[in-house]
């Protein structure tokens, strides 16, 4: 594999990371909650899509019409039943409660679906291994490009929503000062529930692309959480375009790592994450902050 193709593949992989990090970053930005069940919930979405595709024979993309709103509703419920209550007890409590939730979710999935590894790839024809030549003997996967385009649409759409709609405006205001928005007539509980619903809807989308590009089992969530977390932190928490940049940096680092050594994929990813983290501590100002406001 040439250098060019490694960069392209890495950047496109970054699109997937941005997609899975988007909900995590959004939830942290708005509600100051680090959702450790994020990865497991993506697996829930993937299993839901797989069930519809396998048992009822629908295309996973079509199944998203059902799974997306269901995950959104789950987000609403999660906010009201778990996150809101635990946040009231202190900023660190949601970390504990979502960690617990992740364990519950993983084991429920295991109980129901067993240990078999599944994938959504068999239900979409040849999409997951089709590729086309972009010249010079370099091929890129169609699914990778689709993932990247969807990630940009998702992040761009969210950005437009936050900037130009009244509800988006309430979400930004609630993120900045949850007490004061109440005093200007905004129902902050409602706004937070909407934000949680949006975050989980993005997780449903990430679950689809996770299932298409690779395989998953009930315990695959923690690795996805780590990737999402790394992309969000590299990009600077709470900014959507930063998340995309973070995803791309992570993706390129991993692809290069894999070139050097078979074990290099994960190591290089963790390495760049730590490098950025330590770099932030020692570098002045806004270096390594990618589009941070």
């Amino acid at each position: 594999m040439s250098l060019v193709s490694a960069v392209i593949d890495g950047a496109l992989l970054g699109g997937y990371y941005a997609m899975i990090a988007c909900g995590l970053s959004f939830m942290f930005g708005v509600m100051r909650i680090i959702n450790l069940a994020h990865g497991s919930l993506a697996i829930v979405a993937a299993f839901a899509l797989w069930t519809i595709a396998d048992r009822m024979g629908y295309d996973p993309f079509l199944a998203l019409i059902v799974v997306l709103p269901v995950m959104g509703a789950l987000g609403w419920l999660l906010q009201r039943a778990v996150l809101e209550r635990s946040l009231r007890a202190g900023e660190l409590v949601p970390i504990l409660s979502t960690f617990g939730l992740a364990i519950v979710v993983e084991n429920l999935l295991f109980e129901y679906f067993g240990a078999d590894t599944r994938s959504l790839a068999p239900y979409v024809g040849s999409l997951s291994y089709d590729s086309f030549n972009i010249g010079g003997g370099t091929y890129v996967g169609e699914l990778a490009i689709l993932t990247f385009v969807v990630a940009i649409l998702l992040l761009g759409g969210l950005q437009l929503f936050l900037t130009y709609t009244p509800l988006g405006c309430y979400i930004r205001a609630t993120a900045e000062d949850p007490d004061t928005v109440e005093l200007v007539g905004v129902n902050s509980r409602f706004v937070n529930a909407v934000a949680a619903a949006i975050a989980l809807a993005t997780i449903a989308l990430a679950g689809l692309f996770l299932g298409l590009r690779t395989s998953f089992d009930p315990y695959a969530g923690s690795m996805q959480l780590i990737f999402a977390f790394e992309a969000a932190v590299i990009g600077g928490s709470g900014t959507l375009w930063g998340t995309l940049a973070g995803g791309i940096v992570l993706g390129i680092a991993q692809t290069f790592g894999a070139q050097l050594h078979p074990q290099g994929f994960l190591l290089a990813g963790h390495g760049i994450f730590l490098l950025v983290l330590v770099g932030r501590l020692y570098l002045p100002g806004h270096y390594l902050r990618f589009l941070h406001k």
Binding site: Y170, D179, L183, V184, G185, V186
Partner: protein
Amino acid sequence: MSLLSVNALDVRHGLLQAVREVDLKVDQGETVALIGANGAGKTTLLRAIAGAHRASRGQIHLDGSDITNVPAHQRVAMGIALVPEGRRLFAAMTVEENLLIARASGRQGEWTVDRVMETFPMLKPRRKARCGTLSGGEQQATAIGRALMTNPRVLLLDEVSLGLSPLAVDLVYRSVETLIASGATILLVEQDLNRALKVANRVMCMLEGRIVIQGTAGTLTRERITEAYFGHHKRPVGKTQ
């Protein structure tokens, strides 16, 4: 009937009782000033009326309906607006966005972004500026404008002159006087006794969570208020312990 009435209100911050058995009435079109030293409970009282603090005892009524257990955002929808101490603007958002957020209250009325700009002309050139970049006076004008955008029946102003230059205070108070002239109902907290006596119909002085003296601006002398402010008065209105 009074537009806003507070009966035997207690408010606690944990073990600290900040407001003790406060009775208060504000009539339609009236301007009432609350005076008192730091820590007397003025801000807590205002925030309790706005719904930001829960009452541990007593009731709050707006136009006859009990709002004691109504959440803050619904009180805004019913017509209570607070300009909080320290302004509390959304610093990363523009002046216009800060004003438009108040539309969440769903109250229809005469206040629009353009009308706020007319009332506070200093905001006109700053309409698209982020609030974090505004001067103190501009921020205060935006904060009052944001409260007005909810078309309130009662406006609660908490130390609008805090941290402003004398010139900016004059500007803000000129706007407040315009509001009063237009028939607004206002309950304001003010440290500057002269300003309070100038704009208010009635003045109340708080000490250690209680209202210790009150009367119309004409009948209360500066000396009596000053004594009450420092707790030197002999016959308190509230119960002694």
